[in-house]
Symmetry: C2
Subunit: 212 residues, 2 copies
């Protein structure tokens, strides 16, 4: 397998966590998003969306972090990243998707660049935009997590898709100097998961392409 | 089952298509997004995110259209909305998620309202923002679909999760007076699917809460 990766992409960070939990270590190729390498023809042939991560397995190329991680979970079932019952699976998926759909894409680099181009948004305005969607999202997710707080992870004792998505989003919040004070359940889950070796190994600062 | 719905929500439209394909007809409750009913305490108790759709099945409440539809597919497997092999499933999911993550949330009503509040974006600027992300998304999805054009639907002969997500996004593009000329494969799939009874019955204009 080959993972197209960028240390600071939180979508790639999710896939790194999932790979790490599954004990998989694919070849890594780095796509420098701030240098625009995702728009190079060579990479667009891999992923026409021009986004990382992309995962190559044999002759197949997979895109979208959620689809990639569900693929990994189906092809490498241990440890499972989804619970057994359909209702619980839907709950876990909904937490992951509240991040994957309703926080992260709105704060994505290409959106921030477009805010600057279309509305002349300066750095301070873009930062506030970024924090706004994290606040909105975390307020809702905190309620959802508190309602089913049954263990140290989002769902029970071991990490699921929900934690795999939550922890990189918390890292983004930290990068924006946000405190987790309003969301104690998210903070507790983050403290627990980031101490686990699989999560620690996937952290942006631990990657070969990391920059200060 | 109870579906919290709004005729013009394309996320709810996806769930209506999936229910319709599965032959399921839950009780419907309408949440008028333009009147702000999604921010009423009564609805926030159902979905703290304040977004439709939400699906209630017995004592469980499900949110996030993608999670809801995977739940329906797991609990009512016929007809299947995902192919059998993990690689094909990942491909279908990645098309759905290119819409669910990278087009739709950026154009969501709450984001458009925030553009107005934060940057004073007028209607014309908000419409252009809306079209920009559809263009970006459809350009990539068209390439992805053409690369595996094996039938009248996104993946083969019968609708999958990919069509369930694509058709409501095309309806949004039409509402914004966008032509499908640049994306012939998307247009052909849309023509095929919208003629199917399950898709037709789920169209916004066919809902009890529809407005002109």
């Amino acid at each position: 397998m080959i993972l197209y990766d960028y240390f600071r992409s939180s979508a790639a960070y999710r896939v790194r966590i999932a790979l790490s939990l599954k004990g998989l270590a694919p070849e890594r190729r780095f796509v420098h998003l701030r240098k625009g390498e995702q728009r190079a023809a060579q990479f667009l042939d891999v992923n026409p969306q021009g986004l990382v991560p992309a995962l190559v397995d044999g002759s197949q190329v997979f895109t979208q972090s959620l689809a990639i991680i569900e693929y990994l979970d189906e092809t490498h079932p241990q440890p499972p990243l989804l619970p057994a019952s359909p209702g619980d699976r839907a709950w876990v998926r909904s937490v992951a998707q509240a991040i994957a759909c309703d926080i992260h894409p709105i704060d994505n680099l290409r959106v921030l660049i477009h805010l600057k181009d279309a509305f002349g948004a300066d750095q301070a305005a873009r930062d506030e935009w970024y924090r706004h969607w994290i606040r909105e999202g975390f307020n809702a997710i905190e309620r959802q997590l508190v309602a089913r707080a049954t263990g140290p992870c989002c769902f029970g004792a071991t990490p699921t898709l929900a934690d795999v998505f939550l922890i990189p989003q918390v890292a983004n919040a930290a990068r924006m100097d946000m405190t987790l004070d309003p969301w104690p359940r998210i903070r507790a889950i983050n403290d627990h998961c980031t101490a686990l070796p699989a999560f620690a190994a996937a952290h942006p600062t631990r990657q070969p392409d990391a920059e200060p």
